[in-house]
Symmetry: C2
Subunit: 338 residues, 2 copies
Amino acid sequence: MITIKDLAKATGLSVTTVSRALNGYSDVNEDTRKKIKKAAEELNYRPSAAARSLVMKKSRTIGVIISDINREGIKDALAYEILCGINDRSTMLDYDILLFSTSSKKQQKKSYSDLCKERGVDGAVIFGLRVNDPYLEEIICKADFPCVLIDIPVESKNAGHVTTDNVYGAMLAVNHLLKLGHRKIAMINGHNEAAVSIKRLEGYKQALEQAGIPFDTDLVFDGGFSEEGGCEAMYRILLNHPDVTAVFSASDLMVLGALRAMEKLNRRVPQTLSIVGYDDIPVAAYCSPKLTTVRQDKYEMGYRSAQLVIDMIENRQVDRRIILQNELIIRESTKAIP
Amino acid sequence: MITIKDLAKATGLSVTTVSRALNGYSDVNEDTRKKIKKAAEELNYRPSAAARSLVMKKSRTIGVIISDINREGIKDALAYEILCGINDRSTMLDYDILLFSTSSKKQQKKSYSDLCKERGVDGAVIFGLRVNDPYLEEIICKADFPCVLIDIPVESKNAGHVTTDNVYGAMLAVNHLLKLGHRKIAMINGHNEAAVSIKRLEGYKQALEQAGIPFDTDLVFDGGFSEEGGCEAMYRILLNHPDVTAVFSASDLMVLGALRAMEKLNRRVPQTLSIVGYDDIPVAAYCSPKLTTVRQDKYEMGYRSAQLVIDMIENRQVDRRIILQNELIIRESTKAIP
DNA sequence: ATTTTTATTGCAAGCGCTATCAGTATGATT
DNA sequence: AATCATACTGATAGCGCTTGCAATAAAAAT
């Protein structure tokens, strides 16, 4: 391995000068710099990030913590799109990404923040945490490096967040259904450990109440954000509330499950029931019927998270609360009441 | 930041002893070890990975190089599934992942191997490289750390690979079509800078020839692995070869494009044309018609890659050539000739 | 000619850790 | 009593890098 010392020997200069030349300091003669650069080139020198970060206490690395990167996440690929956004922006800003994630199954020995601390990341972006996750508190209180949380609206000394306007997004969905003449609208929600579920429920409620329709708890079902859960929720809706004409689901994945339930019971969407989902996952544009849904720009969420965490790392004063807008995409799974 | 030195001071021992106690050396009195561990706990000590890897010359980090992690890859999510597999296995084996990737647009300043060298990764797994990528050669020859290539069958001093049997996979697809009575079978291929394209073409040829059907170059179209390309290829097939009754596509994504072309021209799948794809992407099971396709276990590819690269890092003698089997999934896009 | 400034370079310390070697005390062996 | 093995602990030297400070020489100012 070629070190700065080798370059010093090769050029007959000191390590100090070599270091300064390579790092663009102005107090080194241009001829000297050229000589050093040439030697570095010839010897194919690469600075050791470990050594550098040891002394600088900066690693130019951001930790990306995604709980549950796993096979189940493949269908909706939310985490992936976010990751793409993070990756693009941090590469641009010359930061590297250290990926942490844990199969929920085996409990991890180390906490995320320990991992981050050991690896000396300069900051972290975190996705997929439940609001009651023990690490969340730890992050908010203890973390001594910037953290940005995706879809968990907390703020603290070292934490910021980026999310979308989930209340508004849900209202978009429900208002659409309302405009189509639906009055009896059920909701398939995720689970109440997810910040977004709480918000989307709120939006659902608000839209209903604005239309003068009383909110009815019995019409809200938890689908756990899974396809299976969506399927079961749909069965229950069909069984217990045959007068429901439309469903708002907190995720497209659950709609996929709901669609399966409908098919099993030989009921057609949107002819007998309108459904609007959330997320606009890739499948939404291809399944049958194509899903009317609330699109979140997950890539943008990742992109902005990276920007925010790096802003915080580099001590720029910026707004630590980023809220993106959602958009209603109307396709085939909704239809006006006859 | 709490260092080993602080622990030494706190316990009245030397840094040497502290280091050894924490690293489980046997030549430390158990009482001493306990005292040290207690102090470490209380002070919330975390070892610095940078310092450690500086002296050990091991980082317990593997670089994952995925060319083109970007929005276009979201639909098929191949890279994501692979990443999941890599992540799961390396987390298990206590390695961290450093993610490298580049938007193809802006040429990068540093090559992958430079990145790896700087960050001192112990090994790397690489996906998405074209066979003529300049970095490929660099990796094969220059890399002084283990590399595992996904879907590029090369082997060298420091390189291994994992791929699937693409010749066989293609034969599976074409034989299925043959069995359904199709004789005039076109192929939509990716591009010939992809190792898998070359192999799948070979499988297509072989299956045809085994059935006594002469191979016809005119029936092979490049779709560039994109939806758009698949669409255009389909138009060309329909226009120039109206007697084609079946198509084998080297990716599901291109089938999605082909399906769009069919719809535009008001031709139905599988009634007027059978199509079999490759990959079994998530959309394949939901689109209409559901796709008959050759499934690759991408997660497994990632998982095995991680295992292999770590085996190589830890100097275990293992087979550096891993070839997984593909599986034909029969759904609705293929049908026997009347 | 002398002092001051400016430009350029090197010495040396130290980041947090591991590892080599030596040292001390204790008990076992002759 | 002298020797040796055993169990533990510490001093110290780096790993490759940055940086504060000192040193030197040349140029500018007095």
